[in-house]
Symmetry: C2
Subunit: 151 residues, 2 copies
Amino acid sequence: MKDSFWQEHLCYLGFRLTVPRKIVINILKETEKHLSAEDIYVKALKINPSIGLTSIYRTLLLFTKINVVQKHDFGEKKARYELINNPLKKEHHHHLICTRCKTVIDYADFMKEEVELMTKTENKLSKKYHFKIIYHTVHFYGLCVKCQKLA
Amino acid sequence: MKDSFWQEHLCYLGFRLTVPRKIVINILKETEKHLSAEDIYVKALKINPSIGLTSIYRTLLLFTKINVVQKHDFGEKKARYELINNPLKKEHHHHLICTRCKTVIDYADFMKEEVELMTKTENKLSKKYHFKIIYHTVHFYGLCVKCQKLA
DNA sequence: TTTCATATTGATAATGATTTTCATTATCAA
DNA sequence: TTGATAATGAAAATCATTATCAATATGAAA
Ligand SMILES: [Mn+2]
Ligand SMILES: [Mn+2]
Ligand SMILES: [Zn+2]
Ligand SMILES: [Zn+2]
């Protein structure tokens, strides 16, 4: 029983609909956070205690390849992941990262101007440096409200 | 004998002027590249074969803390470093990264508009999310000329 | 349904970058 | 020149992520 868009998508691409894959999708579907592999693993264990951390990594690798999740590198030594097309989120967004508690805030408010400038810059850069630009990242690092008080 | 601005700076802050520290400064001073700890270690060995990789890491950590070098995370599993205030470079610049050969290009050409927008966005974001923004990163990922042909 | 080829799994070991530990050494103020 | 101690280098420890490999679950075909 495929009960989500993403499960449909997996099948369509010829991948098997396995327990770990369903679990990972469900976990990511229900959060606005940017979870690490370990975070996901801990949540997954509560649903099915026989799941292996290795499978979480493999699943995340697969999902990243087929553009179902986005892998982020926010300057920690571990990666974080979020579902692409999560109905809880705006499609295209940039990030605000607290360097103390590692909280990540998505923002899409001021994206119009940003994206315009990004596109313009991309064009100029690719011309000048003969670079084929695939994607870009914009990260604002700082302290969230809570951490400002604590720090 | 302190023969550079950076050596002066180290002394000023009360740190000892040691062999590994001088070597790391000299290596970084003379390159436009973004070197990994290992890269620096290999170069350092040619200057003084008794230097340890551990000291390279320790030195880079110290330099990062006192704002002498900038540590970068370009999505590889290892970090890369560049000297702040390197006379070979424009002070403030953003980055263009080849995902295939890992080459990094500094660009400062179109920074005026970018920085303007960044500042504006920063203000709006810090108000809306009560976030204290310390710094930001803008990375364009893609393929350099060479890698476009090879890929 | 049952069967079956094989895609996928989970336990374990391996990796690779970075850190920690700790005994030894080098720096620099007195 | 001396001495307190900051800093070093070798080796072991960490920690996230990958590779291995025998066992298992999936889903198309019978
Ligand atoms: Mn996000
Ligand atoms: Mn740079
Ligand atoms: Zn915080
Ligand atoms: Zn390249």
